[in-house]
C-alpha cells in the first residue's frame, strides 16, 4: 500500500499499517531535511488521562476534552470521529513512545507543566525524526522529493499513483492509498482562488508542500468536500520573515503591549481581542483586511522590555518621527494615532511614551484552513454521492474539518493527525491483508 505525505499523519499511518502486516511505501514531497510537514513546528499535543502520567501530571478527562471540543466546534461536527479522537487521545503518547519518541519530563526546561498536553523532547522535529527512524527500522520504503501529481483508480482494484521525483514522472501501482498530504493553503494560487486577491500579502506559517493538490484531486474525482475553504486560522506574523515555514518564532505576540497602525499610520483595533491567548487568531483576519495586508505594531521602551523575544529584532528609532520614516508611513498620522491612544489607553496597554520606540511590521500568517475531505469512521474517503472505495483513505489535516469545522484547541493538531493516521493505517492494512 502507499501512503502519500510524510507528516505526522502519514508516519503514523505507515507505521500502523506496517505493524498490521502490510508492505508500505511512504511518498514525501519534501526533501529529507524538510520532511515531516507541520509537526516540525509543533510543540506539544493534547491527550486525556484519568491519572497522572510520567510526562503529564494531574488529570485531564475524556469528558473535559469532549466539553472543550464542543465549545469550539459547536454542534456541527462528526460525532463518531470526535469520539474516536477522544478515546485514542488517551493511548497516543504511549504509542509514540513505543515508536521512539521521547517526551520531556514535566518541570524540566522552562515550560510550566501542562495537564492537557505532552511535550516531545526537542520539539516536533525531534518527534518526526524518531518516527522516521522507526519507520526505517520496520522496513517501510521511504521516498523523499517525491511529489504525487495524480492518483487514478485502476479498473478492477487498486490505484496508480503518479509521482514526480527529480523532474521525472513515474507511475506506482498499489493496492491501496492513504492520503495524508496535509491541509490546503500553502500554494499561493490555491489561496488566491479561495480568498481572492487579498491573499497576495499573506505568509504561510507551515510547510510549502501542503499545497492542496491532493485535496483538489480527491474532490475532482468525486470526493465530498467538508468545511469552508475561506475560513482559516490566521495570526499576525513578522512581515520580514520567510514566506513559508516561519513556524512559531515569527509570530508577533506582544500586540497587547502596544498600538497597531496600518500603512497609512491610522490606528486599528480589534474589539475584544484583549490579551487572551486567542488574541492572535482575532488579529490575523484584521491585518488581512488592512490595505496591502500589512500593519505595524508600535511599542515604546517599556513595552519592548515586557515583550517576549521574537526571531527578528524590531525596527527601532529614537523618536516616533524617525520610526515613521523607517517604516515608510506618514509621520503626522502616526503621531496623531499615538497621541489619541495615549489619551485613552486600552485596558492592558499603557501609554506609548518612553523612547526609544520600536516597531514590528506584521502580515497575516496562515496556520490552517477549516476545509477538507469527508471521511467515514474507517477513514475511507466519502464520495459526494455517498459511496466510497474500499481502498482509498485520508487522514490528518486533510480531513480535520470533519471534526474541526471551526475553532481550534491548543495541541489538537498533532493528536488529531496522529490518531486518524493510525486508524487509517490499521484499516488499510486490514484491507490489503484481506
Amino acid at each position: 500500500m502507499t501512503v502519500i505525505g510524510g507528516g505526522i499523519a502519514g508516519l503514523c499511518a505507515a507505521i500502523a499499517a506496517r505493524r498490521g502486516g502490510a508492505a508500505v511505501r511512504l511518498l514525501e514531497a519534501a526533501p529529507r531535511p524538510l520532511r515531516g510537514g507541520n509537526a516540525r513546528h509543533g510543540r506539544n499535543f493534547r491527550l486525556t488521562h484519568e491519572t497522572p502520567l510520567d510526562y503529564v501530571p494531574d488529570r485531564y478527562t475524556a469528558d473535559e476534552l469532549r466539553a472543550e471540543l464542543r465549545s469550539v466546534t459547536g454542534e456541527e461536527t462528526d460525532r463518531v470521529l470526535t469520539e474516536a479522537l477522544i478515546e485514542r487521545s488517551y493511548s497516543i503518547a504511549g504509542w509514540l513512545i513505543e515508536h521512539g519518541v521521547h517526551l520531556q519530563p514535566p518541570g524540566t526546561g522552562v515550560m510550566p507543566y501542562s495537564r492537557r498536553t505532552a511535550f516531545p523532547l526537542g520539539g516536533g522535529k525531534a518527534m518526526i525524526n524518531a518516527l522516521y527512524a522507526s519507520a526505517e527500522r520496520l522496513g517501510i520504503a521511504i521516498n523523499y522529493d517525491s511529489e504525487v501529481r495524480s492518483i487514478l483508480h485502476s479498473e478492477g482494484s487498486g490505484w496508480t499513483v503518479n509521482v514526480r521525483s527529480t523532474g521525472a514522472d513515474a507511475p506506482i501501482r498499489t493496492r491501496s492509498v492513504v492520503v495524508c498530504a496535509g491541509g490546503a493553503g500553502a500554494d499561493p494560487a490555491w489561496l488566491r482562488a479561495n480568498f481572492g486577491s487579498t491573499a497576495e500579502g499573506w505568509m504561510v506559517r507551515g510547510t510549502p508542500y501542503a499545497d492542496g493538490r491532493l485535496l483538489d484531486l480527491l474532490i475532482g474525482a468525486g470526493g465530498c468536500a467538508i468545511g469552508d475553504p475561506t475560513t482559516c486560522h490566521v495570526v499576525p506574523v513578522d512581515a520580514r520573515g520567510p514566506q513559508f515555514d516561519g513556524g512559531i518564532v515569527t509570530r508577533i505576540t506582544s500586540i497587547p503591549l502596544g498600538v497597531v497602525v496600518d500603512r497609512s499610520g491610522a490606528r486599528i483595533d480589534v474589539v475584544g481581542a484583549g490579551s487572551q491567548p486567542t488574541h492572535y487568531a482575532k488579529w490575523g483576519p484584521r491585518i488581512a483586511a488592512c490595505p496591502g495586508q500589512i500593519a505595524y505594531l508600535v511599542l515604546d521602551t517599556q513595552g519592548l522590555a515586557r515583550a517576549a523575544p521574537s526571531a527578528l529584532a524590531p525596527v527601532t528609532a529614537p523618536n516616533l518621527g524617525e520610526l515613521a520614516a523607517a517604516l515608510q508611513i506618514d509621520p503626522t498620522a502616526l503621531l496623531q494615532s499615538i497621541e489619541d491612544f495615549n489619551a485613552a489607553p486600552a485596558n492592558a496597554a499603557r501609554t506609548i511614551a518612553e523612547p526609544p520606540f520600536a516597531a514590528y511590521p506584521m502580515r497575516p500568517g496562515l496556520t490552517f484552513v477549516h476545509y477538507g475531505i469527508k471521511v467515514d469512521a474507517t477513514m475511507r474517503v466519502v464520495q459526494a454521492d455517498g459511496r466510497r472505495h474500499d481502498d482509498l483513505f485520508a487522514a490528518g489535516m486533510i480531513m480535520a474539518a470533519n471534526v474541526l469545522r471551526r475553532g481550534y484547541l491548543a495541541g489538537l493538531g498533532i493528536t488529531l493527525s496522529a490518531v486518524f493516521g493510525q486508524i487509517a493505517g490499521e484499516e488499510a492494512a486490514r484491507h490489503v491483508r484481506g
Binding site: P31, P33, L34, R40, H41, G42, R43, N44, F45, R46, P57, H102, Q104, P105, G107, T108, G109, V110, M111, P112, Y113, S114, R115, R116, T117, F119, L121, G122, G123, G124, K125, A126, N129, A130, Y132, A133, H233, V235, P242, D245, G247, I248, V249, P277, Y280, L304, A307, A308, P309, S310, A311, L312, A313, T367, Y408, A410, G411, L412, G413, I414
Partner: protein
C-alpha cells in the same frame, strides 16, 4: 556556517532560539536564554561553554538549513568557545599559540620528547637506551630522579598555574554579580553536574554521535577518559608516597597500589580517548567546527599516547625496550603538561565555571510561569 562576525551570528541565532525554546529540555543553554532579547559578549562566552556540543539542537531544529533562518547553534557555539579559550589564556600572548593549537600542541609535545631523549642520552651513557635494567631504581638509571621529578614538577606547576589563571580570567568575564553565599549554595549542584556529566545525556536519550540517533556512548567514553586521567594522577601520587614515605623506589611490583592505579587508569584513559576519537571521526560535519575538531583530535591523540606508552612501559619493563619506552612516556607526559594550558583541556575548567554560573542562575530562577499557561505553538 557562521557569518563573518561570529558575535553577530550568535546574536541572530540566539534570538531565534529564545523566541522558539523548543530545545529547552535538551541542555541548560536554553533555560539560560529564556526571555532574553539581547546578548552581550559575556553572555555568549558563558553560553558557548555551557554547550557541550551534543548536537541535539541541530537535529531537532526546525530552522536548520535549508530553512532560510539557517540556525546552526552547535557550530556557532563551537566557534565562540574557541574564542573564549583564546581570549582568556594566561599569559595572554598564548592566545596566538592557541589559535594554531593543532600545530602548537604537537610541536610542544615533539619538543618535550626531544628534550627528554636528549637528557637521557646526556645524563646517562649513550648505551642507556639499549640496556636492560631491572630491580629497584631501574627507572632512575634511565633518567636520574631529580631530573625526572624536576621536569614533571615544573611542567605540572606551569600547567596548574596557567590553567588556573585562565579560568579565573574567564570566570571574571562570565560571573554574575553575586554574593559568596549564593556561590556556595550553587557549588554542590555544579559539582554534581560536573561529576555525573549530567548534561551529556541530551535531556535523557544522550548525544547525537552520528545522525539523528542518540546514544550514551559519548558520556561513557568521556567518563572513562577523565576517570583514567584521574587514576593515572593518583598512581603518580601513590608512587611518590612509596618513594618518600616508605623509601621504596620504582619500579613497583604489579600488585602494588601505584601500578594497579596506573594500569587501570592507563587502560581506561586509552580506551576512552580512542573511543572518543572514533566518535569524532564519525561525527556529522555540518554542526561541527573544523577548528574545534582539530583541537579535540590533538588532545585525544595525546591522551591516548600517554596512556598507551604508560602501559607499554609496564608491559616491557623487564626487557631492553623499557628505556626507550620510558623515555618516550616521560616525554609525552612532560609534553602533555606543557601543552595543557593551550589545549582542549581548557574545556574542563571553563565548562565547570559555566556550570557554576548556570547553577547560580537556576537557583535564582524560581519556576516563574504558572502551570497550564502553556498552550501549543499555534
Amino acid at each position: 556556517m557562521s557569518a563573518a562576525d561570529p558575535m553577530l551570528e550568535a546574536e541572530r541565532v540566539l534570538r531565534i532560539c529564545s523566541a522558539c525554546m523548543y530545545c529547552d529540555g535538551l541542555c541548560p543553554v536554553f533555560p539560560a536564554i529564556d526571555g532574553k532579547h539581547n546578548f552581550s559578549l559575556s553572555d555568549v562566552s558563558y553560553l558557548s561553554n555551557l554547550c557541550h556540543n551534543c548536537q541535539g539542537c541541530w537535529h531537532d531544529c526546525q530552522y536548520a538549513p535549508p530553512h532560510p533562518f539557517a540556525v546552526n547553534l552547535p557550530a556557532t557555539f563551537a566557534d565562540l568557545r574557541q574564542r573564549s579559550y583564546a581570549d582568556h589564556l594566561w599569559p595572554p600572548a598564548l592566545g596566538r599559540a592557541f589559535r594554531a593549537s593543532s600545530l602548537a600542541v604537537p610541536a610542544t609535545v615533539a619538543l618535550a620528547l626531544l628534550i627528554t631523549f636528549a637528557l637521557v642520552l646526556g645524563t646517562g651513557s649513550p648505551e642507556a637506551l639499549r640496556t636492560t635494567y631491572a630491580g629497584e631504581g631501574a627507572f632512575y638509571r634511565v633518567l636520574p630522579w631529580p631530573v625526572m621529578a624536576g621536569l614533571a614538577g615544573a611542567t605540572f606547576a606551569w600547567a596548574v598555574i596557567a590553567v588556573t589563571l585562565a579560568t579565573l580570567r574567564y570566570w571574571r568575564t562570565i560571573a554574575p554579580e553575586t554574593a559568596i553565599s549564593e556561590i556556595l549554595r550553587a557549588l554542590p549542584i555544579a559539582f554534581s553536574d560536573i561529576i555525573t556529566l549530567r548534561h551529556l545525556g541530551g535531556g535523557g536519550p544522550g548525544c547525537h554521535d552520528h545522525n539523528e540517533r542518540t546514544s550514551q556512548r559519548r558520556r561513557i567514553l568521556h567518563h572513562l577518559t577523565a576517570g583514567g586521567f584521574v587514576l593515572s594522577g593518583l598512581s603518580t601520587i601513590a608512587a611518590s608516597a612509596y618513594h618518600h614515605l616508605l623509601g621504596v623506589m620504582a619500579p613497583y611490583p604489579v600488585a602494588s597500589l601505584p601500578v594497579m592505579l596506573g594500569l587501570v587508569g592507563g587502560v581506561t584513559m586509552t580506551v576512552g580517548a580512542v573511543g572518543l576519537l572514533g566518535l569524532e571521526a564519525r561525527a556529522d560535519r555540518a554542526p561541527s567546527d573544523r577548528g574545534e575538531t582539530k583541537l579535540n583530535l590533538a588532545f585525544l591523540v595525546l591522551l591516548a599516547l600517554v596512556g598507551a606508552s604508560g602501559l607499554a612501559v609496564l608491559g616491557f619493563r623487564s626487557t631492553p625496550a623499557m628505556a626507550p619506552l620510558l623515555t618516550a612516556h616521560l616525554g609525552l607526559v612532560f609534553g602533555l603538561f606543557a601543552a595543557l594550558p593551550f589545549s582542549k583541556a581548557l574545556h574542563a575548567p571553563f565548562r565547570a565555571a559555566a556550570l557554576l554560573r548556570a547553577a547560580i542562575d537556576s537557583n535564582r530562577r524560581a519556576s516563574a510561569r504558572a502551570p497550564d499557561a502553556s498552550g501549543d505553538s499555534l
